[in-house]
């Protein structure tokens, strides 16, 4: 078996009396799209937050390319090439779209203006931002200089997705990236995910949209009550099988 790019073993996270992750495992193989599905509150977001450094698990191990890593914050995961779109989007509401897209990776002017005066290349960042947004099919955007807080729910999500797709270098993690998106925009995001995979990056996709999941995933990780209870493939199981396992209506298949 190939070494997983990203692997989690026995992760646990509790909040007081609430158990968010309860000894969960996860494997992400090179070049694959791994979907993570599960009921609300199954611990999907908590699991990927642990992978991306946004929360520090109480116990368990995370391996990147087979080597143990301990991310204490999102920057460290990001530096290791893991790019994440959080369910809460993590945008700075007062900044505009371009600023948000390039947050933490701002581009400077060429020449001394950039190197000495550290001047940002606003024009270029705006142009690129406009390009990224239209790639996602967000055509209704009327003003690229709008602060993100004044965008519609879907537009805001598109900003977050565009950011991760543009900058991921090792793994891209997307937590419900299409939840607020329209049909067309949602399909664009699926295409974008495929593009990312075709660039050789594996992708973790959390989604409640079964047609999307079955259309795009190579493998499907099913989370239930804080644990991985099964890994299936779109070939081996049908959508209704998956839903039945996820909700506990059917027993999980034998462990792989």
């Amino acid at each position: 078996m190939t070494t997983p790019v990203l692997q989690a073993k026995g992760l646990t996270k509790r909040y007081g009396r609430v158990v968010a992750i309860d000894g969960s495992d996860l494997e992400l193989l090179p070049g694959e799209i791994l979907a993570v599905i599960g009921d609300n509150g199954a611990g999907k977001s908590s699991l990927i937050k642990a992978l991306s450094g946004a929360l520090v698990p109480d116990s368990g191990e995370i391996l990147l390319d087979g080597r143990p890593v301990h991310f204490r914050n999102p920057m460290e995961a990001r530096a290791a090439g893991i790019e994440t779109v959080y369910q809460t989007l993590a945008v700075a509401p007062g900044l505009d779209i371009a600023d948000n897209l390039f947050l933490g990776r701002e581009q400077r002017r060429p020449g001394p203006l950039g190197s000495i005066f550290r001047m940002l290349d606003r024009k270029r960042m705006r142009e690129e931002a406009a390009r990224h947004m239209s790639e996602l099919g967000v055509a209704t955007l009327q003003n690229i200089g709008q602060p993100v807080e004044s965008l519609s729910g879907g537009q805001r999500q598109a900003v977050a997705v565009a950011r991760s797709a543009a900058f991921g270098s090792k793994v891209v993690i997307l937590d419900e990236p299409t939840a607020a998106l329209g049909v067309k925009e949602g399909n664009r995001v699926l295409q974008l995910i495929r593009d990312v995979r075709d660039r050789g990056l594996p992708v973790i996709l959390i989604s409640h949209n079964m047609p999307h999941v079955f259309e795009i995933a190579d493998r499907i990780h099913i989370q239930r009550l804080g644990r991985r209870i099964a890994v299936i493939t779109p070939g081996s199981h049908s959508m209704s099988d998956a839903v039945a396992i996820m909700t506990g209506a059917a027993p999980p298949p034998e462990a792989p």
Binding site: A54, N73, P74, M75, R78, T84, Y86, T88, L89, A90, V91, A92, P93, G94, L95, D99, N100, L103, G104, R105, E106, R108, F117, R118, M119, L120, R122, R163
Partner: protein, 336 residues
């Protein structure tokens, strides 16, 4: 129905909407309008108000507060607050004065030592805010009393006279006459600093990070910004700015006195808020603060020239501040 709609849209386009566009893009126009109104009003009351000599006086009088308010703005932009601003400025001024006199250190070095102390005091605030994760209000309240107390101990509550100091220490108080207008070196330093930070906030990555951190610190962290570092840099920079304000203060008073500055915190925060920066962080900027500081200076000076009695000046200032922000609010009111 359509007719009405069309009419309404067109009506808005004509004046309200255009004005709103302008103000939307330039949030400092609100405070600026207030400043202009105040200047015009006071000039009408007393013609002497609008003379070059008097206007240069107002600039001179706000220089220290404006420099403090510059550091305060940085901190408030990150959703913090700094109650120790005045204490750091005064303590730094005492330290540099004592270095240059009693300790006999050469003036430029004494100055640098004073700046270093201010920076260090800012760094202490920053450390407590970012590492121990204490609320800025309580951190700076604590350091405020600590610095003021150290200040009394170190200075023995005694004023260091400018006449005993090397010229460099009081240089900020000297002025270049431009006609009747007297521009002090302190004011020049202050204006340059404002220019520098206006640039840094809107044209550098650091500035973007300051805004993002103040806007939503958790989102900024998730977006990959080292919010701890940003905050630390802001508190440290503010400390340095307060020390510069301390130097300007020596020039202004031609002495370093441990007993000034009790009102500086509230005054500097007032300037920031009048300038349109939100105390909740992430919104505003330094140019507004400069205007805010000038508004307060104009009020103080204008009321005195208008012959308002001392007992009533407090009343009038309070009222004017309220009117000023109401006016600003009215101007920027974008029907939500």
């Amino acid at each position: 129905m359509t007719a009405t709609a069309d009419f309404e849209v067109r009506r808005h386009d004509s004046f309200g909407l255009r004005l709103q566009h302008l103000l939307h893009g330039n949030p400092v126009l609100g405070p600026l309008a207030v400043l202009v109104v105040a200047i015009v009003a006071f000039s009408i009351v007393n013609a002497r108000f609008f003379s070059a000599a008097n206007l240069s006086l107002v600039l001179l009088q706000v220089t220290v507060i404006a420099t403090l308010a510059l550091g305060q703005t940085l901190i408030i932009l990150t959703a913090g607050i700094d109650l120790s601003a005045g204490a750091i400025a005064v303590f730094s001024s005492i330290l540099m004065a004592l270095f240059a006199t009693d300790a006999g250190v050469p003036a430029p070095l004494a100055l640098l030592l004073g700046f270093a102390c201010g920076t260090a005091m800012g760094a202490i605030n920053g450390f407590l805010v970012t590492r121990i994760k204490l609320p800025p209000f309580i951190v700076t309240l604590g350091t405020l009393t600590i610095f003021f107390s150290l200040n009394s101990v170190v200075s023995n509550s005694e004023t260091v006279r400018g006449a005993d100091m090397p010229g460099l220490m009081t240089w900020t108080g000297e002025a270049i006459p431009i006609g009747d207008f007297r521009l002090s070196y302190g004011s020049i330093i202050m204006l340059l600093l404002f220019g520098f930070f206006a640039y840094a906030l809107s044209w550098t990555a650091w500035g973007k990070h300051v805004y993002a951190t103040g806007d939503d610190v958790e989102a900024a962290r998730l977006a990959g910004i080292r919010t701890g570092r940003v905050l630390f840099s802001v508190y440290t920079t503010a400390g340095l700015l307060y020390a510069v304000a301390g130097w300007i203060l020596i020039g202004r008073l031609a002495s370093a006195s441990p007993n000034v500055g009790t009102e500086y915190n509230l005054d500097s925060i007032t300037a920031v808020v009048l300038g349109g920066t939100s105390l909740f962080g992430g919104r505003g900027g330094v140019i507004g603060t400069l205007i805010g500081a000038l508004i307060v200076g104009v009020f103080r000076n204008g009321l005195q020239l208008a012959g308002v009695e001392v007992v009533w000046q407090g009343f009038a200032i309070g009222l004017l501040v309220l009117i000023a922000v109401s006016l600003d609010q009215w101007i920027r009111k974008v029907r939500s």
